[in-house]
Symmetry: C4
C-alpha cells in the first residue's frame, strides 16, 4: 500500500529539480522510507519524467528493491542502491539527480576515487557540519549497468567513508540522502551548488 | 482536418522548450504524425513563437510538406525535413530546436561530419540504448536555405547512419524524433543535456 | 492620455525579460509608438522594475522625450534615444535590455566600432534577413551620461548603418526595435541568443 | 510582535531569489527594520528555505541579535551582522545571499581586501551613483564562525569604506542593504549581475 503523503512530496521535489535542469529526460530517481520493519520505500517508477510526476508514478518497494504489489509499475532500476543507502545510513529519504555539474565533475575527477570540497560556507548545509573549514569527501564510483554489483560497491564506499553525505557515479550523477526528505533535498541543493562552484573555479 | 489533441500537446512542448531557451525568437518547429495513409503531420506554422503557441498555430501538412487546407497558415519552411525523417524512421513525432549548445557544438565540430558522444549514463534516455558505453554518432549537416536540397541531404544521412537518434544542422540547431511525441521530447532533453556536457568539457 | 493596450503589452514583455535576467535592478526601458502625428510613445517610467510593471508605470512621451502629462511619472532618462530610433527607422516599438552578454560583448569589442555576426540560422529572425549567410553589423557606441549628446551619436550611427537591426552601448546594453512590439521582442531574443553564442565561442 | 507586512514582503523576496539560485539549501538571510527606538528587525529564522518561507519563518530580533519573544523561533545566526549594518548605515533592510558568483569572486579575490567594479552602466542601480564611471569598492572579509568577532570586522570595514553598498564574505556570499527593502533587493540584483559580468570576463 502506497502512502499518499510521501508520493505527493516526491511529486513536488520532482517539479523543483526539473525547473533547475537536474532530472532531464526521465533521469533521476527518488525514494522515501515509509516503514523500517519490514523495510518499505515509496520510490519513483522507472521511466517517469520527474518534472511531471503524479502519485501513480510512485511505487512501494521492499528490501530487495522489488515492487511490493504484484501489478505495480516497475520501480527504478537503481532501487537497490537506495536500499543499500537506507540500510547503511538509516536515512529517511534518498535522492538521485543527473545534473550537468555532477556529470562534469565526476568525469573530470573520475580517475581519482573522489573529490574533496572544503572552505565554503555552504558546506554547513550538510547535516552535522558546523564550519566552512569542514572537508567533505565526495566519493566517485565507476558507473556500472550491473546494479547488484554496483550496490555492493556502494555498500563498500559507504563503509569506507562513514562521514560522507553523498557520492557521485562517474559520468552519471549524484546520490545523496537525509534523515527526512527535506534534509535530502537540502543536500541535493548544497551539493549541486558546490559542484558548480568547484567546476567553474579556474 | 487538424486533430486537437496533437495541437494541444505541441503547445505544451513549446512552453517547456521556451522556458529552457531552446526556441527563442520564433525559432524551432515541431510535428506529430496524425495519419500514415495518406501521410499527414500536425505541424507548427511558420513564424509562431513556440512559447506562446495556440492550437491555431498548428496546421495539417501532407507528404510533400504543404498545408492540406487551401486557406491554412503556412507550415514551417522546414516541413519537408520532417517528412523525410518520418518516412526514413517511421517516427510519430519530430522536434527541432535552436539551442545555444547545438549551435555552438555544430559550429565547433562543423568541419567534421559529426560528433561522437559516449560514456554517459544519460545516453540511456535514447530509445533502445541500454548502457552508458553506447557510442552515439550525431551527424552534422551543412546548413542550406534550399530546403528540397537539404531534405535530400537529410535522407542521405539517415540512410548512412541508421542507428542515429538525431542530427545537427551547422550553426542552426538540433533535429530529433521518436515513436511518440513524449519520446521525441525526451530525446531533445537528452541531447541538449549531452551537448552542454560535451560543450563545457575542457 | 495613455493607451491601455500598449501598457499591458509592455507589462508582459517586462515579465518575460525579467525571467531571463535581461532587466535586473530596474534596468532597461521599453516603448511603443501610439501616435505618429504628433509623435507619442508609451514608455516605461524611470526607476520601475521591469519584472513587476503595472500599467501605472507606463507614461506618454512626446517627440522631445518628455512626459506629455504635467503630473505624469518621469519617463526613462533614455527616452530621447527611443525617439531618435523611431524617427530614423519608422519603428513601432523600441526595447532596451541590460543583459549579461550584451554587457560582456560590448566590453570585449568596445575598442572597435562594432561586432559582426554571420553564419547563424538565427539571423533569419531579424526582419528582412532570409539566409544564415547574412552579415549583421552590430554597432557599439561609447556609453555617455549626457543623453542629448548620446542621442546625436545614435542618430549618426543609424545613418551610417542603415541596415542594422540594433546597437550596443558599451558596458551598458542592447537597443533594438521593430515595426511592432512583437517584432522588437523577437529581435531582442535573437540578439541575446546570438550574443551568448558569440560570447561562448572559443 | 511581528509586523505582518514586512514578513509578507520577505516571503516574496525569498521566492524571487530562490528562482535565481541565490539562496539554495536554506542559505541566506533577510531582515527589515520595524522599529528604531528600540531597534527591532523582522528577520528570517535559522534553517528556513528561502524559497518556501511563510510568515511564521520571520521573527522579531532586538539590538543584540536575539529573538524578542521568549518562545520565538531562533533567528539567523548572523543576526548580529544585520544589526551592525543597520546601525552603521541607518538602513531599513539587509539582504544576504549565497550565490555562485559571490562565492567564486570572493574566492578568486580573497587574498586582497576587496574587489573594484567600475565602468558599467548597471552601477547606477546602486543608491546615489549617477554615472557608469563610478568605482565601487566591494570589500571582502575573511569568513568566520565566531559571529561576534565577525560583527566587529563588519563594523570596522563599514567604517573604513563609508561609501560601499555591500561586502562579500569569503567563499560565503554577499551582504547588501538599502533604505527600503525594495532598494536592498535592487542592490542584490545589481551586485549579482556585476559579479557575474566580472566573473565571466576573460
Amino acid at each position: 500500500m502506497r502512502s499518499p503523503a510521501p508520493a505527493a512530496a516526491l511529486v513536488e521535489v520532482g517539479r523543483r529539480f526539473n525547473s533547475r535542469g537536474w532530472v532531464l529526460g526521465t533521469s533521476g530517481n527518488f525514494s522515501v522510507v515509509v516503514s523500517r520493519e519490514p523495510l518499505r520505500l515509496a520510490m519513483t517508477r522507472s521511466g517517469a519524467h520527474k518534472g511531471m510526476l503524479t502519485a501513480e508514478d510512485v511505487v512501494d518497494v521492499d528490501g530487495s528493491g522489488s515492487a511490493v504489489a504484484a501489478r505495480a509499475a516497475r520501480p527504478s532500476a537503481e532501487a537497490l542502491l537506495h536500499v543499500e543507502i537506507v540500510r547503511a545510513r538509516g536515512s529517511g529519504a534518498v535522492l538521485h539527480t543527473h545534473s550537468l555539474w555532477s556529470t562534469l565533475l565526476s568525469d573530470r575527477h573520475g580517475e581519482s576515487d573522489g573529490l574533496a570540497i572544503s572552505g565554503f560556507e555552504m558546506l554547513k548545509g550538510l547535516n552535522g557540519v558546523t564550519t566552512h573549514e569542514h572537508r567533505e569527501w565526495l566519493p566517485i564510483l565507476e558507473n556500472d549497468q550491473d546494479i547488484p554489483r554496483l550496490a555492493r560497491q556502494v555498500r563498500h564506499v559507504l563503509d569506507q567513508h562513514p562521514a560522507c553525505h553523498g557520492f557521485l557515479l562517474r559520468r552519471h550523477g549524484l546520490y545523496t540522502w537525509g534523515a527526512t526528505l527535506d534534509e535530502a533535498e537540502r543536500h541535493v541543493e548544497i551539493f549541486e551548488f558546490l559542484l558548480e562552484v568547484v567546476g567553474r573555479r579556474p
